[in-house]
């Protein structure tokens, strides 16, 4: 993190489109205590006008996390996963994600601040669909413990 300011503005993009699988949607729904049938049953989703099962509301965190792992693997970042805790999170939705979506995700480091011996790393992740349409933007702050940004 010694050269952390050089990381601001850096972008991390998933190397290929992320195909949202039906069973993954169901696994996330079960993990998140989701009870609405729209997340689990294809028929319920189609009756509601969707092409397939609807991903739970915070599913975009999966794409955000995949991008974040690219950042954490960046040798310039020099961050150990176990020192990371999540500070805040926000999503702005254009539409829900559904199984079958092929999504692109790009994370951009927007700021790095030093606070009380920790580093606060803010990042925006923009998720778009196969047509290039905006699906959701996720905004996160990670708190890296015991590391001081330059």
């Amino acid at each position: 993190m010694s050269d952390s300011q050089g990381l601001v503005g850096r972008r991390y993009e998933l190397p290929e489109p992320y195909l949202v699988g039906r069973e993954h949607v169901r696994a996330m729904a079960r993990a998140l205590f989701a009870t609405n049938r729209i997340h689990l049953e294809v028929e319920a989703a189609r009756a509601a006008g969707y092409a397939d099962v609807v991903a739970p509301t915070t599913f975009p965190a999966v794409l955000q996390d995949a991008c974040m792992q690219l950042f954490l693997a960046d040798p310039d970042a020099g961050i150990e996963l176990q020192n990371v805790v999540h500070g805040d999170e926000g999503f702005r939705y254009e539409r829900p994600i559904v199984a079958g979506d092929e999504l692109r995700a790009v994370l951009e480091i927007t700021s790095i601040k030093s606070l009380g011996g920790n580093s606060m790393i803010a990042a925006d992740t923009v998720v778009t669909d196969a047509d290039g349409g905006h699906v959701v933007t996720a905004t996160a702050t990670l708190v890296v413990r015991g590391e001081v940004a330059a």
Binding site: P56, D65, L81, D88
Partner: protein
């Protein structure tokens, strides 16, 4: 498709759903780690959590955030009514290996719908009597069904 909660006549402070309690166990954390791909060891290794100065194994913030909105999603009937959702992770949810952790969610109108039909619902999420999410706010379309043009667009985009 159930019509879902109608918030057009709702007032600030009105409950959207009855309070809901969920129990997070270590199993819940493993299940979320596997489903989400977030394998930070602070969510399943007591020794590592302690070594980095945490009070114990913590629930993923995104598990708490993602589970906390579920009673509201069920009440609204259609996730496309949700415009935005944000929170701060103000206090960790420590998940005891034996007893787990009970998380309670209360959802109330924080701001009535504006001209665009979108209002705000505030989630109060507590564990052991203390708030664990700060400013957990959901902006949502307060009209049920398919009234809103935006909602129709949202569905069309997924066909």
């Amino acid at each position: 498709m159930p019509a879902g909660w109608d918030g057009r006549a709702a007032e600030v402070g009105d409950a959207v759903t009855a309070p809901t309690t969920m129990t997070f166990t270590r199993d819940s954390l493993v299940r979320y780690a596997g489903a989400s791909g977030d394998f930070n060891p602070i969510h399943y290794r007591d020794d590592i959590a302690t070594a980095v100065g945490l009070p114990g194994v913590l629930a993923h913030g995104m598990l708490t955030m993602g589970a906390a909105i579920q009673p509201l999603v069920q009440a609204l009937g259609d996730p496309a009514r949700i415009v935005s959702y944000s929170t701060r992770f103000t206090r960790p949810v420590v998940v005891d290996a034996d007893e787990g952790a009970e998380v309670t969610i209360d959802a109330r109108v924080g701001q009535t719908a504006g001209d665009d039909g979108v209002g705000r619902i505030d989630l109060t999420v507590t564990c052991a009597g203390k708030t664990v999410l700060g400013k957990a706010q959901v902006r949502a379309r307060f009209a049920p069904g398919t009234d809103g043009d935006d909602e129709t667009d949202a569905r069309a985009a997924t066909r």
